[in-house]
């Protein structure tokens, strides 16, 4: 295989990490919502898409990337607040499938609303000024934006980790949905916690969307495969494990990227095959606890 050098491999690896960073962030958002509410948000991909659209929109409007980066998760977070309060919470006690079904229906609504507001063609993605071009990373020239992506998601994940480990709220989240009764008895307003965690989850999804928008085409359907890919990461990492979400996210990104190098036709398939292998060998995922399923 001519042209296959160590440099090329490293470049592809770095691309994989950039892709994986998005996956890690997305899966983390899913994991938080699941860990606390035992709800799988089937609208996660749709919120990602909304984040991307809002990102491009505000960036085009204000020219200020940092402002957009702060505003977009705020908006999707507020959307999450309303979703939890009026759609998901009434489902509590009904059966675990219902919030899932509801958020699935919500994804349809979000996709079509986006088509109505922004048109069916989608929007051209904008790379923020200052982050365009490439930078020499030693083994080649790597897009500056993707480097930023890796660093930014690392910082965000670190912040989330610190939040969970070091704050009072974080402790409650760590205790998770398994000990709800105990938490209630201890005087914790569980309803408020759910509200906030769900909103944080959708905020993360929206944030992933705007962060990812310069690297892919922004159209109303972009969240559809993302949902499936988030599930792959979750299965590989282990349901309910934040560490698993991050590690598996990066792993999946790398697998995709490396497969694109050797067999581009099979890249999309490769990550699903990875998931199938994990299911056979270790159904609870790399970091999941057996018995946490269902």
């Amino acid at each position: 295989m001519t042209g296959l050098t160590l440099d090329l491999l490293c470049m592809q690896m770095l691309t994989g990490i950039a892709l994986g960073s998005i996956y890690a962030l997305l899966a983390l958002g899913l994991c938080l919502i699941f860990g606390m509410l035992t709800v799988v948000n089937f609208a996660h991909g749709a919120f990602f898409m909304v984040g991307a659209f809002l990102g491009v929109f505000f960036l085009g409007l204000t020219g200020n990337f940092w402002f957009s980066l702060l505003l977009v998760p705020l908006i999707t977070g507020v959307m999450g607040l309303f979703t939890e309060r009026f759609l998901v919470r009434p489902m509590y006690g009904r059966g675990i499938d219902y919030p899932l079904l509801l958020t699935f229906g919500l994804s349809y609504v979000l996709i079509e609303l986006t088509r109505i507001i922004f048109g069916i063609e989608g929007m051209p993605s904008i790379t923020p000024a200052g982050l365009t071009g490439s930078v020499n990373v030693g083994f080649g020239y790597f897009p500056k934006y993707r480097l930023f992506l890796i660093l930014a998601t690392a910082v965000i994940i670190l912040c989330i980790w610190l939040f969970i480990q070091k704050t009072r709220y974080g402790l409650i989240i760590k205790a998770g949905s398994r000990d709800q009764e105990i938490l209630k008895v201890l005087g914790v307003d569980i309803a408020k916690v759910w509200l906030i965690v769900f909103a944080v989850g959708t905020a993360i999804a929206g944030l992933s969307g705007i962060l990812a928008s310069p690297t892919r085409s922004v159209n109303p359907e972009m969240g559809i495969p993302i949902l499936a890919e988030s599930f792959v990461v979750t299965v590989v990492g282990g349901m309910g494990s934040p560490v698993g979400a991050v590690v598996a996210g990066l792993l999946v990104g790398i697998v995709y990227s490396m497969t694109s190098l050797f067999a581009p036709e099979l890249a999309e398939l490769s990550i699903f095959v990875l998931m199938a292998v994990v299911l056979i060998i270790r159904p609870q995922g790399l970091f999941g606890k057996a018995g946490l399923m269902g």
Binding site: F34, T38, V39, V40, L87, P90, M91, R94, I96, D97, Y98, L100, L101, L102, F104, G105, L106, S107, Y108, V109, I111, E112, L113, R115, I116, I224, P225, L227, A228, F231, V232, T234, V235, M239, E265, L266, E268, L269, F272, V273, M275, A276, L279, I280, P283, M293, G294
Partner: protein, 326 residues
């Protein structure tokens, strides 16, 4: 003059005791009730799809988001048999059904080690594997454009000429297969397996303590459900003469979910009613707006929130009924 609840209940009881016959009669007159035959055929095909799906979802309590893969497999395998291998439609249908059932065996085997919402996620992702495989195998499947040219030549049986170009003839041809499948489903539900299915859905641990191999039962029902959805796919291929790539996508699976909930999951008539209502509504609404996805999303959310038992389920709930009328 409104019929009293007890009259309605009596009617419903009678319908339930002869459920296959009731469905047969309703479906026989369907083409004359619907504005055009293609819609009626769609209702047949998707009604069967929803019923096959409902076997796993409504009766076993397992929410799969990968059943579109079986609809698609049935369609593609049937189509490929006819287009690339020139096999007769009878053999092609058989291949479609068995292929889908085999797919159900593989997917089921992998997915059954998980439960609850995890199961839903896993089946969605596994279904996407099948989607991508068929997408990439362009030479056989036509890739993004789908498989074209699935034609059934006119043939004679018992002196009757069955010409697929005649929509009414096509309808009744497909109707026969669908009716056979519905009868088969009814048999399953009435059999000892049906009782075990219900027990497992109610209380898995208890069922295991009674001596039932829960995992194997789940796998068996998964396979049966996949085969039935495969048949729906095969029939659809014959009807449309093409197999669209989207039939394998998880959004197609989502459609089965929506139809089941809309009509009433876990009931015999529910899925067909759900399919009929949804397809008819789609036909009406798409005639004056392109935003059908918004409408169906809202309707679905509305039902999940306020009428989770679906149309037929809510009707059953309101009437004083004898046990077994579903």
């Amino acid at each position: 003059m409104k019929p009293s609840p007890s009259t309605l209940a009596n009617i419903t009881n009678a319908l339930a005791r002869h459920r296959v016959l009731s469905v047969a009669i309703a479906l026989m007159i369907l083409p004359f009730v619907m504005p055009y035959e293609a819609l009626a055929i769609n209702i047949l095909v998707f009604g069967l799809f929803a019923m096959g799906f409902n076997l796993l979802f409504g009766y076993m309590g397992m929410l799969s988001f990968g059943h579109g893969a079986f609809l698609g497999m049935g369609g593609y395998l049937t189509g490929i048999s006819m287009v690339h291998f020139s096999l007769p439609w009878g053999v092609a249908i058989l291949i479609g059904v068995l292929g889908a059932a085999l797919g159900g065996l593989v997917m089921g085997f992998l997915a059954i080690r998980t439960r609850g919402i995890y199961f839903s996620m896993v089946t969605l992702a596994l279904g996407q594997i099948i989607y991508y495989i068929f997408y990439k195998a362009e030479s056989l499947t036509g890739g993004e454009n789908g498989l074209r040219g699935v034609k059934v030549e006119a043939f004679s049986v018992f002196g009757f000429t069955v010409d697929f170009l005649n929509p009414v003839t096509k309808y009744y041809f497909i109707f026969l297969f669908v009716l056979a499948a519905i009868w088969f489903i009814s048999r399953i539900l009435n059999s000892p397996l049906g009782a075990v299915m219900e027990a497992i859905r109610e209380n898995e641990k208890r069922a295991a303590a009674c001596g039932f191999n829960v995992a194997r039962t789940k796998l068996l029902v998964f396979i049966l459900s996949a085969g039935i959805c495969g048949l729906a796919g095969s029939l659809r291929a014959l009807h449309l003469s093409i197999v669209p790539i989207d039939s394998l996508h998880y959004l197609q699976s989502g459609q089965a979910v929506m139809m089941s909930i809309l009509g009433g999951m876990g009931t015999f008539f529910g899925p067909f009613i759900g399919a009929a209502v949804m397809l008819y509504l789609e036909d009406v609404i798409t005639s004056f707006t392109t935003h059908w996805m918004l409408v169906v999303g809202l309707i679905f959310m509305f039902f999940v929130l306020f009428f989770p038992q679906g149309i037929w389920g809510s009707i059953l709930h309101k009437l004083p009924l004898s046990k077994n009328s579903k």
